[in-house]
């Protein structure tokens, strides 16, 4: 008895289970239903203004899940760990959804004039005279013209997409090559992927910051915050982890994830996500505290737009939704170790992230700043992003089916098959 091993063996087929197709058709159905609702709302409202604003929300959600997945893929190549091995293939599939995110972005690039004040105003002095913009906006638009103009917007975004596409292609190709190589070459592959991912994380944080500034922050041309990119970066970690936990627990209903997803790693992922919940509120509150303390006329209106005129209700709910609730729930060890409950928390967190983006995006526009009011249009925020994310999920499921869901050429595979008490 003393020398028996109790290690499990990897199942023969490592492909994604058949029910992933079911996920795909369900996501497609939800996507179609919500597209119809979105169209109906646009008719009721009589304009597509809010469709486009909600479109940016959907773009930021799918961008976060797709390119954020690429970022977490690079992080786990650098950090190592069994959680990384578990998530590797789902994260690769998330990163391969980049084409869809690009299509979503093209719509934004075509409708710049409706979304961004700086694109709308070509003659600053005329707009100032007619009272369309105020003096502060006029100054900011003129001063930031070299950065905030349609040409730069498009070129910077295209450059970012090219860089993300390069890393997606490289990491996905090497991931497959690694599995077809002999196990004796594992150390070479670990080093190789580390060397690509390390600089990749730095490049990613810079390009992602540029994207967040152009796509969201520039909606209000007068305001700036140096922590903005980091806030989106952490927000991506927040929702990417939530989404990958949902995927791995969903996959664990059948082989091969039933064998490889142990409670220990599920618990670890829960703890990791908890760290992102903390970091997220740390940065969000830090930004608020600094701007509140400074109380400068250049910065504080951005918060006043988002607090006054009933927006105070939204920011209070936002605080509860995306920090208080996940924080108190994830403190519990039992919830982190319970599959069903952890999935519920993760779903909630993805909703909370979208709610936070709503609070960031909508008050940028004159009709909504300091004036939260009902219109059929504002309901687009509940329709368009759901449709866009559902289509994204369907695309993700397609990508997930294209390769085995467990990487085998990795020393962690042996460890993950051992009973849980073997390692500290």
């Amino acid at each position: 008895m003393a020398h028996e091993t109790h290690a499990k063996t990897l199942p023969a087929s490592l492909g994604a289970p058949a029910f992933v197709d079911g996920w795909k058709s369900r996501a497609l159905m939800v996507g179609v239903v919500f597209s119809v609702i979105a169209a109906g709302l646009a008719f009721a409202d009589g304009s597509i203004e809010h469709v486009l604003r909600a479109w940016v929300l959907g773009l930021m959600m799918t961008f976060g899940l797709s390119v954020g997945g690429l970022a977490l893929l690079m992080v786990q190549y650098c950090s190592g760990g069994k959680w990384g091995l578990l998530l590797r293939r789902p994260l690769e599939a998330m990163s391969r959804t980049l084409p869809l995110v690009f299509v979503y972005w093209v719509v934004v690039a075509l409708e710049l004039k409706r979304l961004y004040l700086w694109a709308q105003v070509s003659d600053v002095s005329a707009a100032l005279k007619s009272g369309f913009i105020n003096e502060i906006q006029a100054h900011a638009i003129e001063f930031k013209r070299p950065m905030l103009n349609p040409g730069t917007f498009v070129w910077v975004s295209l450059l970012c997409f090219a860089i993300w596409a390069f890393y997606t292609w490289r990491l996905n190709a090497l991931g497959l090559q690694r599995d077809s190589d002999s196990p004796s070459r594992t150390p070479y592959w670990i080093k190789k992927l580390e060397n690509i991912s390390g600089p990749g994380i730095v490049v990613y944080s810079l390009t992602m910051t540029a994207a967040a500034i152009y796509w969201v922050m520039s909606m209000d041309p007068t305001w700036y915050s140096s922590v903005y990119g980091l806030l989106f970066l952490v927000g991506q970690g927040y929702m990417v982890l939530a989404f990958s936990i949902i995927v791995s627990i969903g996959l664990s209903k059948a082989e091969p994830f039933r064998t490889v997803l142990r409670q220990t790693e599920q618990h670890d992922l829960g703890k990791f996500m908890f760290a992102f919940v903390m970091l997220n509120i740390y940065l969000a509150f830090g930004q608020f505290l600094i701007i509140w303390s400074g109380n400068l006329p250049e910065e504080i209106p951005w918060y006043l737009d988002r607090i006054r005129g009933h927006w105070g209700v939204i920011i209070t709910l936002d605080f509860m939704f995306h920090w208080l609730i996940p924080f108190t729930l994830l403190l519990s060890r039992d919830i982190k170790r319970n599959k069903k409950r952890l999935v519920r928390v993760c779903q909630w967190m993805i909703f909370a992230k979208a709610f936070d983006l709503f609070w960031l995006i909508e008050p940028n526009y004159k009709d909504a700043a300091r004036n939260l009011h009902f219109s059929w249009g504002i309901l687009e925020y509940a329709a368009v992003p759901v449709a866009m994310t559902s289509f994204w999920v369907a695309y993700f499921c397609m990508q997930l089916k294209t390769r085995p869901v467990v990487q085998t050429n990795d020393p962690h595979v042996a460890e993950i098959l051992e009973p849980e008490h073997v390692h500290a």
């Binding site: 008895m1 003393a2 109790h6 608020f288 303390s293 109380n295 009973p419 008490h421 073997v422």
Partner: protein, 180 residues
């Protein structure tokens, strides 16, 4: 109280945590209740195997954390509004956003200290004496690479001869008798 004498229990030594967990699980199933596992690092399955129950440390930590939060927040409120009100850039004296960071730090501090001291208070550490250290293999191995299961003499099922045979059925490295 006069010093206790006689047998504290029988100590079985294992080379791997897997063997320990299986033995502990079996012993618990066979009705043993006065038993304990000793490992060089936390083995959660061993704790589950011998029916480890919930303790009050999380509650102590929560209460400590809330006390820290309340203490610091009310201290700041008292200083800023009653004891020494200052006009800082025209802000109201009760400026709660500025109070959050110290209040948060005190929450962490109090929760951390409550967890540490609550754990010590509830688990009976530091102990000046424990009979298991009379066993030389325990002294040498319990903190490095050995895994121990101890069936204690206080258990009604305990019988020096039968229990030794019972433990040997798990094929441990050794079974030794431990004196008080």
């Amino acid at each position: 109280m006069p010093p206790r004498e006689g047998t504290y229990g029988l100590l079985a030594e294992f080379d791997t945590p897997g063997d320990l967990v299986r033995a502990a699980r079996q012993a618990r199933q066979d009705g043993w209740r006065r038993l304990d596992c000793y490992t060089p690092y936390p083995v959660e399955e061993a704790a589950e195997a011998i029916g480890f129950h919930r303790n009050k440390v999380p509650l102590v930590t929560l209460v400590g954390g809330l006390m820290g939060l309340a203490a610091m927040f009310s201290l700041e409120t008292w200083i800023s509004t009653l004891a020494y009100p200052l006009n800082i850039g025209g802000r109201p004296t009760y400026s709660w956003p500025a109070f959050i960071v110290p209040a948060y730090e005190w929450t962490i501090l109090f929760a951390g200290l409550s967890a540490a001291f609550g754990m010590l208070a509830l688990n009976g550490l530091p102990a000046l004496y424990h009979p298991l250290f009379n066993a030389p293999n325990f002294r040498d191995g319990a903190t490095t690479d050995k895994f121990f299961l101890c069936l204690e003499a206080l258990d009604p099922k305990f019988d020096l001869k039968e229990t030794k045979v019972y433990l040997e059925s798990f094929q441990p490295v050794s079974v030794v008798e431990v004196e008080y």
